[in-house]
Symmetry: D2
Subunit: 406 residues, 4 copies
């Protein structure tokens, strides 16, 4: 892209997203970035909310757009940010999630145990940095919080980072859960920097409350929807079963060489960088094709789970506030093992326990700082008449069982 | 689903979609319908408009919703429609596009020559009709225009059918091309029936004009966008090449047994019904996985095209109002054949000609009838001071070449 | 309107509002209802939010629309509601606010002391009932909670009535405070009736939380915005001053005979019904014209206040969490009295104290009942992990002084 | 306002409008500008579209916002625009409509014959320029097209000026006629400057077509809606009757001294500048109060018309494509004169003829220039396959009669 040309991308959420840096355009054109087109942002949420099939690439573009907006706001308030810092912060957010694999959170630590997606994102930045003659140096410093202006790091990864603001906005948009909408534009206009930290101006308090309440709603209503959880658990069990079968030397062609490779590989751990290029070829299409092919595999468990996921005939789900009794679980497993004709030690594949947990706002972990007109700074949970109060800092747990209908 | 329970689906476009018929719910739950989750509505448009990754299932639900709305409007105007006819019309629209294969229009007639998607949709309805004890009989009559109340057929498949209204609305929504938005709710409120035909009340004229102008805009700006066309042409050439290689007995494992089957099969023609079950397993995931796998195939042409599509490094496109000269094309092919080291007879894989064509409104083919207060009926192109005039009935053609950069 | 004709009104908030009852159309056409066109819904909020100039008529139409929607939902859930009850509930909501005078809340009890707007609304219903041969009988019973199906009353005037749902939705729409948006459509879909009471289904909990948080935000950010409060206080002082001058026999032509009448009249009290017809001629235009005319009145105080309001040169406002000290207030009044040359006993016209108060949710006064799947019913503040907790039941007070800049 | 402080105004249409120039803030605070709060943008359109009660101040702010946006686009494309020119263009658009009187177009040339609102806008700029030490000099040059960079004038007042873009956008938003929506953001992104003229880039063609079609729709569906026209005609006749009565020395107190003054004044003409200050006190409130007061005037004609307008009991309207015959009109007047007991020479007050006219696009008067990639420039009506063609350049006329029901 010649340096003088601007590229404009239509976005149903924000209208238009503008790219005006050749370096950023080069990064966006890289196959490592384009791969994000083939990974859905919300994994199986589309099974419940049919509109929620947007991609990680789209989310990444959105977060980039909000970063542009936030940097403009801060500059207009007199915060000094150089052109290089701007570009670096934009690159950092653009690549912040590039390390996600297919069905991201669901498969994290399952397909490739012991490797967190942020570690991979950093690895990707380093590889691109080499390819692009060190031009990502500053972005890496910001991403790893090794740069002096910490507020730039906080915009990438903090309590009010543009990542969260975009995914809440975008996910509520595409699911059609309009109540999850946050006032991202107002929050951004209320951002400022105080003692090198990102803070929110006093008159933004209600917008922050609204943000936290919308987040709470999105978690319980969407991200932790029981049907979505169930599908994710089924996927996890499919991969576990596949790995088990491979270890038992069963033939298990998935149709994707990359899936074959990772199913057969031992834990990656520190040696992961040698797998990076392979990982960069892995996406939703490989995993879904594997599942489609495994529908016809002779292993009964694998075939049941794969069929169920493809045809959206999911396991049944029971959900409650208290843990299920061990006795009840054992009984259920015994019955299903008997009726389905599978060994008792495999019953856990078709009777899956799980717990979902969410915290509305934990001041011990999160810090959303409000800057008052008198210059003092308080956490959002400490302001007068706070909606966000101590009681909401405890994690709320919900217990569930997914089991096959007999 | 017990007959008394209503199911509500969130839709970012219309808010909520309601299902209150057990039969319709049963159809929606069928694997043949669920497969539409795995076929994107707009094929490669997502390469240009990143939000445009919505599925055929989503479009089908939307068209169903507009059908509900249109039937309610007509009933409120005193048009007699029985409960059975309502259900049947809803089923007909729900399944109208169920015969689409992966990358629909792009691959139609390519992967399985000689079988149009509407024929497959009808086949699907017949199969479901058998499975469901003849409950789709009336839907089939409506879909094939063999039912006395022709206006029901016109709602499914006419100039102002709910299919078009939904895809224009939905595609403009997800692409973010807000100018493509049509006033579907107003058009629906203006619909009525006159002499058993679907017509539009006089005061809906401007909404119809707007509908046609928005359609024109969507065609040129989105559906026929040169980058989208180029990606589609590359896909077509990939399938053609794969078929050629198979016929030459080259090994070409795609990773998907279904793709392997159709690549190797001869034209289907009338015997297609025996393939239906196989076809119902085919979706975007199979095709995309094939392309991903073929990136590493030793055939240079196949590998170039597959790499390009996966990494979004597309062929270059030239677009113009007049056809390209034969001489210029031959010269280009010769040069590329030489520089890329491929036989001249294969150059057409990397120098692809094409023509896109669109007609704003052709009164000879389309009939949008306006009902005037005095009881007369005129085609939209015949009303006084029409925006939609004779000149717009000629098809507009654009010619393009997609060729590899050397 | 012939009984078979439907009238459709465009509404930017809900799309289309449909009227299909001749009786309702007749009520809407009555001058008593049309008068609501000339009373702004949000009084002086337009001084801060320029879009907030929508009328009481528009709000009333919106509440009517939500009532239609709520009644349809309840009927679809098997709650028995007759056609007459439907029409009556719609009439009740249509007229619920018809008793509001100009600048509603600000002038309530000021211009006509001792008469609450709901009393006037009831009076209006009774007058119309006579004019329309008793056809409003049932509406009056519902409005006064004298009808057996109490849930109908609760839809008109309860914690989740369609009045509140519309004004929060509409006011946030027109102010552009998008964070005040509530999920009215989802809340309505979650409504049901249990033991003759309006309740919300369990899965609507988060929508209710969101509703209460949005309400809290709208109060502090919009309804109790200090500039809006200040303008309202100035208006109150203008009317008080005018009444005082009239009592001192000063000539004070307002330009509106109706304003002249009410300024000169003693407290109305129980005799108000004899003034009804006069009151039905009073609207924002009379009051604003009076203020515009009084700008040139020789009384310095009246002229200062009127000029300020017309030219949007408002008093200065100080706002704080604690009451202002009496000493500070006296000092301020003394100084202003001196500098402006007005008698000390009149200083209160230009140094106005006030307090704004709001409660997020008071379970003692409000009851938003949640119906659980197991059949139990709990107040929203009593459900597990409630966002809406005891601490939020205390009224929050803010104290302010509006005073003239010297 | 200290120069470093930014003011942000919520706008339901564009989100936030930002003011960051102390001079612009000072102009906005001036009573001449604040008066625009009391003049509705769409006069009587609210009688049909209840949401359409937004003010001229709101439109002016919106046009200012689009101007900011357009200037930023042009600068980003390398067009040189200095900071002073930017401020001046913003001021010019802010005040472009400041000369409008109450019920603007309807009363133009009626209340004060011979003075066009643009002349008054210029007068206002000159007065403010004096008050503000010559700081509006450049704005005046741009507004009067006396500045070298003509494209700045064209942004204020041309075929694609931000005035039109805002009013079409805003009016369709507030009426709820969503089909009138134009892609203002895309059009603005497509603007550029060629030979000192404002032009649109080639790829903006479809957006321009859409703009012209939306305008066409808004004219016929909203601005020239027969009920709106009827109310405006009634208002005109009220003012004419009032002037006639005054000339006959009838007492006619309106309640507004300003209305009294203009009703009694002879044509203003060139001496208008001496009336400016009086005119700056005139707004919708004065006129509406006059009408309300005149309802009770002994003159039957005046009272009938005023009553009708206040209570929305409008005259009946007949509308047709051809002129009404003189004979039919005379007969109607004669009958109404007889039945209503008014002299035949006054019948024209209750039988009002009129004609509405609109042209979709007249290339002779308008010039929307498209800049092609090859550097050529063509009018939108001259491009290939134009939707906007010669036939649409002829004005379309509709004839109507408003008459009292007897």
């Amino acid at each position: 892209m010649p340096s003088s040309i601007r590229k404009i991308i239509n976005d149903p959420v924000y209208g238009f997203i503008t790219i005006d840096s050749p370096l950023i355009y080069r990064i966006m054109s890289h196959p490592y970035y384009q791969r994000l087109r083939r990974i859905q942002q919300m994994a199986f949420a589309g099974l419940v909310y049919p509109g929620a099939v947007h991609t990680r690439l789209h989310h990444s573009l959105g977060a980039y757009h909000l970063m542009c907006s936030a940097l403009n706001t801060l500059k207009s308030k007199g915060i000094e940010i150089t052109a290089d810092e701007e570009t670096a912060a934009k690159i950092a957010i653009l690549l912040h999630d590039s390390g996600h694999g297919p069905f991201s959170h669901a498969l994290e630590n399952i397909l490739i145990p012991g490797v967190h997606h942020e570690k991979i994102s950093l690895l990707i930045m380093k590889v691109l940095n080499e390819e692009m003659e060190g031009q990502l140096e500053l972005a890496i410093q910001i991403f790893t919080n090794n740069y002096s202006k910490s507020f730039l790091y906080q915009l990438v990864s903090g309590q009010l980072d543009v990542d969260r603001m975009d995914y809440l906005t975008r996910d509520s948009f595409f699911t059609g859960v309009s109540e999850g909408v946050i006032g991202y534009d107002r929050i951004i206009k209320m951002l400022t920097v105080h003692n090198n930290q990102l803070v929110v101006e006093e008159k933004g308090i209600y917008s922050i409350e609204k943000f936290l309440v919308a987040r709470r709603l999105m978690y319980w209503q969407v991200y932790l929807h029981k049907t979505v959880l169930c599908a994710e658990k089924m996927l996890v069990k499919i991969i576990e079963r596949a790995k088990e079968l491979v270890q038992k030397n069963r033939s298990l062609p998935s149709g994707s060489q990359i899936v074959d490779f990772f199913i057969a590989s031992p834990s990656a751990g520190d040696g992961f960088h040698s797998y990076l290029d392979k990982f960069m070829q892995l996406d939703d299409y490989d995993v879904m094709t594997a599942i489609k092919n495994w529908q016809h595999h002779p292993d009964k468990i694998l075939s049941i789970l794969c069929h169920g996921l493809v045809e959206r005939r999911l396991l049944k789900v029971m959900l409650q506030a208290a843990p299920f009794s061990a006795g009840m679980l054992e009984e259920l497993k015994a019955r299903i093992s008997r009726e389905k004709g599978i060994p008792p030690e495999d019953a856990h594949y078709l009777v899956i326990e799980g717990m979902s947990v969410n915290t509305t706002y934990d001041p011990a972990e999160e810090r959303i700082n409000i800057l008052f007109k008198n210059g003092s700074v308080k956490d959002i949970s400490q302001v007068d008449n706070a909606l966000i109060h101590h009681n909401l800092s405890a994690p709320v747990k919900k217990f569930y069982i997914c089991y096959i209908n007999t």
